[in-house]
Symmetry: C2
Subunit: 335 residues, 2 copies
């Protein structure tokens, strides 16, 4: 059986281009014991993928040149040599950017299409949802009445951060690009305020929407917006460093936060998170979030782009701020 795959052809300098990818068709190997063959239905596109394309030390090894690009996905089991997985099961795992995959079942788990649309297991009920849940609650530690600001607010993580903060009784402000996204945050997700960084001065926006200052900042973007928020933090504020998408395609060094001494003045804290550290608590978090979704208290939003071949360009939507909710590719299958 053939698989269409995107291989990492070279390491990007700055923004990834078509040249960084080889789009190939390969014969899949036969199954070894403990493996399954999966028809990949949805592929998760995440800002972290940009980091995996770089060489060098990070929280997981880089993707090697010539290797299938790493990606989470959901799919259907076509063949199994693991008694825990049956043909027809729906599963989530790191299948890579491809339409069919043969993979060890370690790290693969079943998902239930009756409980939620399959793509949701890559969003609220997947890694971005877990990132939001644990990053906000364990590291941000928001208390009722406090002000929580989140950047990348209309993205996969940001939408969930803001809604959980509302559930915890906080005043919630999102920073996102464009009028449509900002309206969505307020009108659909119940945010108290939204700042359109593409058309507004963020500092002024913070002043207007956060009259009591900022107690928790969940940062997905870094760059100037991080500095703007640092200038408005309260005593003992907590800044959750989840990502810095504004910096991932830099060819220059990362812009460090010039206002970091605001941490000193305000006895505040800036702390990094990586979602995998909470893996043993995923089931509890997923159950709680599924409950919120069922009660209509947590709205999931996915942004679905059709066609595996769109991958190189669809990935860039993340860095242009074009996705609205969790970005996934719906895989087409010729066979």
């Amino acid at each position: 059986m053939k698989s269409r795959q995107f291989l990492l052809a070279s390491r990007p300098v700055g923004t990834p281009t078509a040249d960084n990818w080889d789009y190939v068709e390969t014969d899949l190997p036969p199954l070894s014991v403990g493996q399954i063959k999966v028809k990949v239905l949805y592929i998760s596109l995440d800002p972290a993928m940009r980091g995996w394309m770089n060489e060098g030390r990070s929280y997981i090894p880089p993707v090697a040149i010539g290797e299938v690009m790493r990606a989470g996905g959901v799919g259907e089991v076509l063949e199994s040599s693991d008694p825990n997985f049956a043909v027809g099961d729906f599963v989530s795992g790191g299948f890579g950017v491809c339409d069919f995959a043969v993979i060890d079942t370690k790290g693969v788990h079943k998902v239930d299409p009756k409980l939620a649309p399959l793509e949701r297991y890559l969003g609220v009920l997947g890694m971005p949802g877990m990132t939001a849940y644990f990053g906000l609650l364990n590291t941000g530690q928001p208390k009722a009445g406090e002000t929580v600001v989140v950047s990348g607010a209309a993205g996969a993580v940001g939408t969930v951060v803001g809604q959980i903060a509302k559930l915890k009784g906080c005043h919630v402000v999102g920073i996102a690009g464009g009028t449509e996204k900002c309206q969505y945050l307020i009108e659909q997700l119940g945010f108290d305020g939204a700042i359109d960084y593409k058309n507004q001065d963020v500092k002024k926006g913070l002043k207007a929407t956060c009259p009591n200052g900022v107690d928790v900042y969940f940062d997905n973007v870094g760059g100037d917006i991080l500095d703007d928020v640092l200038s408005k933090i309260n005593m003992k504020a907590r800044i959750v460093v989840c990502g810095a998408i504004s910096q991932y395609n830099n060819t220059m060094p990362v812009k460090g936060p010039s206002n970091y001494l605001s941490l000193l003045v305000n006895r505040a804290r800036m702390e990094g998170i990586v979602v995998f550290d909470n893996i043993k608590d995923y089931p509890k978090a997923a159950a709680e979030m599924a409950g919120w979704i069922a009660q209509g208290k947590l709205i999931a939003k996915e942004h679905v782009v059709e066609g595996l071949a769109t991958f190189p360009d669809t990935l860039l939507m993340l860095f242009r701020g074009e996705n609205f909710g969790k970005l996934v590719i719906k895989v087409d299958h010729t066979s």
Copy 2:
């Protein structure tokens, strides 16, 4: 009675110059109830003074133009209208940069010249010692066997941070300027390693002296050294932001730490401290440190410069990295 005083004449742009000061002789006012007249014997010079000269929001208000420059000091009570203080008592308080002061007794406390030389109450037994003690123990939270790195290591705070970390069983490395200071850290204070940032590559120095990476970094300097250490931190490392003396005279914006995303990769934390927050626990800390000094486990080092008139220039020694231990002025008195 006359007092010689340094008044803030103008706010410096970059490094303070002689023009920023007015050196005047003024008649002291008569005592109101609850005041004392003090003969100032030692004046504390601290990096924080540079911040107090700036306009704008910080953890305490700036010194006003025309006001006596704020400074801690120790002195002798010459007159008292507060029954808690007697003529001849030795006291520590915020007397300012002057030779005689009339001051409210709020915030003034007695010190005992039999227990320690008077200048020590501005160092190990004063604000710098408290900063080191609480910043390291409460925020750095070093555990035996961990590696603790401190910058400004030969300064008032750094010397104490490193020695307390040794007492807690840590591997301790200091970053300081010059061979003499580095030798002192190792030979006299028992540091395990020292990096001479004026003559060595700090990154290479860290690699050589911290084979197990960095668990706690106590930062007094900011700038490139903060970035160098960020590149070597371990999982769950704690960075104590105590100061950033390399940036205080900047006319350009502060250099933010480009490597701050190392916090994310390593799930590490960067947290600011201000010593005043621990004021109610000072007596306990002072008692413990006095015990260590008495047992020879904690060595105090002061750098004494003679003469009030030297103040503008002596202050700059801090920013040139010329002080070796706690910098104080020993005040001369003509009357």
